[in-house]
């Protein structure tokens, strides 16, 4: 194999193995994706007037927004709405978690019979798929405007997160400890309480705090469809073109969301 010798007998070409059938299929697939994206971009393309109008609107928006409205009355209304949002988050977390616990057990493959498992998974999927605001708009119709609708919406949204992740933890538990309780003649409930619960409680507390964090974010905006909290105030400020007040509210929301995130991170670290 010296430099001059030709490498006779070996293939002259090499093709990278592809997940596609062959290279042409690959390019057809890529082309199709590109065309699809271009087509959807074409569908939302703005007219020239719209862009020009947009520039005007944006400059008006920005100049009215700054500085934020820090008058006592604005601050008072922001404070009132925010307290309601935070209260909604606490209540919704408490109720949502209590109602999600049985769902979590149902959605854990190793703990329940098949049909029950499917029901559990279905509840989780539906709850996950529907955005809090979609749930909120329905709840407002059902129980009227106000924080109750928001709380119910957040409660409905809880299993999609809480039950799903708790079910995954339940599926990972150490079966040995469970069998020990079963062997000493415990019934299903005792198995859950003494064999399963001690193993997942720290993780569960972490998930509760995490859910509270999410609920804080959600409770600040469900008001947009009338379901209580600061969101109502925000929507009103936009409808009345009080963008400086809107900015105050948004800054308050960001502050609360960040404090919530930090508090939840600290609390979860403590628990673990």
């Amino acid at each position: 194999m010296s430099k001059s010798e030709p490498s006779a007998g070996y293939p002259e070409t090499w093709e990278r193995p592809s997940v596609f059938y062959n290279e042409y299929v690959k390019y057809v697939v890529y082309l199709a994706i590109i065309l699809f994206v271009l087509w959807s971009a074409w569908a939302v393309r703005p007219s020239v007037e719209r862009v020009m109008g947009g520039i005007d609107a944006a400059s008006i928006l920005l100049s009215t927004m700054f500085p934020p409205d820090l008058s006592p009355i604005a601050l008072e209304r922001t404070y009132g709405g925010m307290v309601e949002s935070i209260a909604m988050a606490f209540v919704a977390t408490a109720i949502g978690v209590v109602l999600s616990l049985p769902v979590a057990v149902m959605a854990a493959e190793n703990l329940v019979p098949r049909p029950v498992y499917y029901v559990g998974r279905a509840i989780v999927s539906v709850s996950r798929a529907l955005h809090e605001l979609v749930l909120a708009i329905i709840c407002v119709v059902a129980v009227g405007l106000g924080p109750l609708a928001g709380v119910i919406a957040l409660v409905f949204a809880t299993p999609g997160f809480f039950a799903k992740l708790l079910a995954e933890d339940l599926e990972d538990i150490d079966e040995g400890q469970v069998d020990a309780i079963r062997a000493s003649g415990g019934n299903s409930l005792q198995v859950l309480l003494y064999g399963v619960a001690p193993q997942v409680i720290p993780r569960m507390v972490g998930l509760i705090i995490y859910r509270w964090d999410i609920n804080i974010r959600a409770s600040t905006i469900v008001g947009i469809v009338g379901a209580g909290g600061i969101g109502v105030t925000l929507l009103n400020s936009f409808e009345r073109y009080e963008y400086d007040f809107a900015l105050t509210i948004i800054l308050a929301i960001i502050a609360v969301v960040m404090v919530g995130e930090i508090a939840s991170a600290i609390a979860r670290r403590r628990v673990q």
Binding site: M1, S7, Y10, E12, T13, R16, P17, L165, I214
Partner: protein, 277 residues
């Protein structure tokens, strides 16, 4: 061939890794650099192709000084220096064939690199070299599917495909078990002989150096403390090299950190917890 004169390297941390090293490599010989860890072996090898910028001194390859080259001159010079790494440094998520062909990356255009479009003779030779290093038929496997020994064979194949004028090798066996180490050293030195090129190789284990190399350079604390053939390497030489370096022996060497385990894939369950709200 390769002539190093008064090479110095001071890292930005103030570490004086090389304190005036002079040595040369001629013809088709295999030269080993031995010394305790922290002696400056890796630094020396990496200065030669300027993966690490030397502070002072000259490195002349085939009559041209590497240290004063411009970026594009340096790229051309690097094509002539095959490098084999301690941690193999294969592109883990690419196939074996892509890794081997990447040895020719300095000779093709960006567009060709993008399309993995290498000349026929390169492809042909890649197949041949893969056979030669003993991993024939694995060209479509991904590098991260292979064992350490196999990866180092691919690393050698990649360097050979460059058709380099010299091989620079940094502790090729310290990530391998002893048995594989011997096989890889054997392969490496044989191939160099077949290709008719010299090798400059860092070795931590003295035994391997004695068995496989023509000439030994002993490095301690950034200075050359021994030069000679394996026959001339006696207990006295061993003591000078390793006693002088003892003080630094147990210091950690940033250059030798264990390769970070690749976990490029997204941790979806964590992302899941990313509040989408």
């Amino acid at each position: 061939m390769l002539e190093i004169t008064d090479l110095e390297k001071v890292y930005s941390t103030g570490d004086e890794a090389l304190k005036g090293v002079s040595m040369d490599v001629e013809g088709e010989e295999v030269v080993s650099i031995i010394g305790p860890s922290g002696a400056g072996k890796s630094t020396l090898i990496r200065c030669i192709n300027r993966l690490t910028e030397p502070t002072a001194g000259s490195i002349v390859l085939d009559g041209e000084d590497v240290t004063t080259m411009s970026k594009s001159e340096l790229r051309n010079a690097r094509r002539d220096m095959g490098m084999i790494f301690q941690e193999f440094n294969l592109v883990e998520r690419l196939t074996v064939m892509e890794n081997v062909l990447s040895g020719r990356v300095g000779y093709i255009s960006t567009m060709q690199a993008l399309r993995r479009n290498f000349p026929e003779e390169d492809v042909q030779r890649a197949y041949e070299v893969l056979d030669r290093v003993g991993v024939g038929g694995m060209e479509n496997k991904r590098a991260d599917e292979l064992s350490g020994g196999q990866r180092q064979r691919i690393g050698i194949a990649r360097a050979v495909l460059q058709r380099p004028k010299i091989l620079l090798v940094d502790e090729p066996t310290s990530a391998l078990d002893p048995e594989t180490s011997f096989a890889v050293m054997e392969l490496l030195t044989e191939i160099a002989r077949e290709e008719g090129i010299p090798v400059l190789i860092n070795i931590h284990e003295v035994e391997l150096a004695l068995e496989y190399t023509d000439r030994i350079v002993g490095l301690a604390d950034g200075e050359v403390v021994f030069k000679g053939t394996p026959d001339e390497f006696d207990q006295g030489a061993r003591d000078t090299i390793y006693r002088a370096g003892e003080s630094r022996e147990d210091q950690s060497t940033p250059g030798e950190q264990v390769q970070k385990q690749q976990s490029a894939s997204v941790d979806i369950s964590d992302a899941d917890r990313e509040t989408s709200y």
